[in-house]
Symmetry: C2
Subunit: 239 residues, 2 copies
């Protein structure tokens, strides 16, 4: 059974302000929930139609009908978990730090988190206007990678200004990333979907880099920010 | 003004069977429509709240309210165009041909079309079970690139069997793409989101390649098919 107040709490977690207020976020999908249960994240409560055989204190068996009432998905899975948002850690500057300047699409952020995990990049720094990483659509797209990447929301200008690392940024007009000497340590800034990197941040970028376009120059105007991040991280890491 | 039968026709085009029946597909968003108008695609009809100054025979000025009735989007743009599906052309094997083995997500296909365009890959070959490229969500994600890539739906096994090109395929276990000698011509097969490349196609792949995973090997289980395509095309093209 699930009470009205529980339903109200869970559905409120769709919105960032309530996630911050309660310090909780929702995860759906057995595979992702199981990955998160193995991590350091603290489980608040798990609603499921089939037992996970975890501490009964944290597990509530519910009907499919009740799951449908709390799920954010059109076709719910068999479980919905609520985890506590972990305390933020300070950024450790060993290796490449990915910095996002107002990335707004949840799918893009989720994909970028998954890419960071793949390329062993543990630090992701986001401007305050970047989409919240505890947004359910972001969580869905990360496929569990969120537990292995330290994500910080900061004043991006102030963060870059105080850093002593070389600053790379993805621009339409920049040095060819395939021939440019890339460092093992540094900040890689990726910009907003529509507007790219903002003027303020641009002035702090010492190394403007580009992925060359092939063939007809009248063609595609830009790459999607997640695919551009994939190619650039591959270049930094391939050696 | 827009008639009931017109509304019925347009809304039917959400479904593949009606797109095939009428040989028409829908495009929304002024930017994409303008790109498509510049291409060889044949316009069937354009519904818009503001004139595009094109041949009046093809343009119908409608109210925002009427646009809302035909739009597939929650927040409609100011125009919706219906184009004719072009006749399919045969696959030209000069350079890299990207082959998709049952890619199902419209966003992934759209991103891959855009990547092909960026990397000057003009031939995209899709298995019959791959999502339809005239699906509105695919068109949305291609940002106009669809006019510059020749997309063919084929029996993928038969296509690869008859080709004389080297066949590369993306696998979790394969040769390191960063050190493997890649050719200028060949077929690059990318698999389904959940199951990868099917057994039948796998037996036809002469060169299994992988993007190495960095750091903790217990981490991310795979890359998204669109980001993996981005990295692999970058490797084929960077020289």
């Amino acid at each position: 059974m699930i009470s009205k107040s529980q339903i109200k709490l869970i559905t409120s977690l769709k919105q960032k302000k309530y996630r911050l207020l309660h310090n909780l976020f929702v995860v759906e999908g057995i595979k992702t929930i199981k990955e998160l249960l193995k991590s350091n994240l603290e489980l608040h409560i798990l609603y499921t139609t089939e037992s996970f055989n975890i501490d009964a204190k944290y597990e509530v068996l519910i009907s499919e009908k009740d799951l449908k009432r709390i799920s954010f998905l059109t076709t719910p899975n068999t479980a919905l978990a609520v985890f506590k948002i972990p305390a933020s850690k300070s950024v450790e500057e060993n290796g490449i730090v990915v910095a996002l300047d107002d990335v707004r699409d949840p799918g893009n952020l989720g994909t970028i988190i998954r890419l960071c995990d793949w390329f062993d990049i543990t630090e992701l720094v986001c401007s305050k206007a970047t989409v919240d990483c505890y947004n359910p659509k972001v969580i869905q797209a990360t496929m569990g990678s969120i537990t292995r990447v330290n994500i910080s929301y900061v004043d991006l200008t102030a963060y870059i200004e105080q850093s002593k690392q070389p600053v790379f940024g993805a621009f339409m007009e920049g040095e060819n990333v395939y021939t440019k000497q890339l460092s093992q340590k540094g900040i890689l800034v990726m910009g907003n979907e529509a507007n790219g990197i903002s003027k303020d941040i641009e002035s702090l970028v010492s190394n403007k880099i580009s992925i060359p376009r092939f063939g007809d120059l009248q063609a595609t105007e830009s790459l999607n920010v997640a695919t551009a991040t994939a190619i650039l991280l591959s270049e930094f890491k391939r050696g």
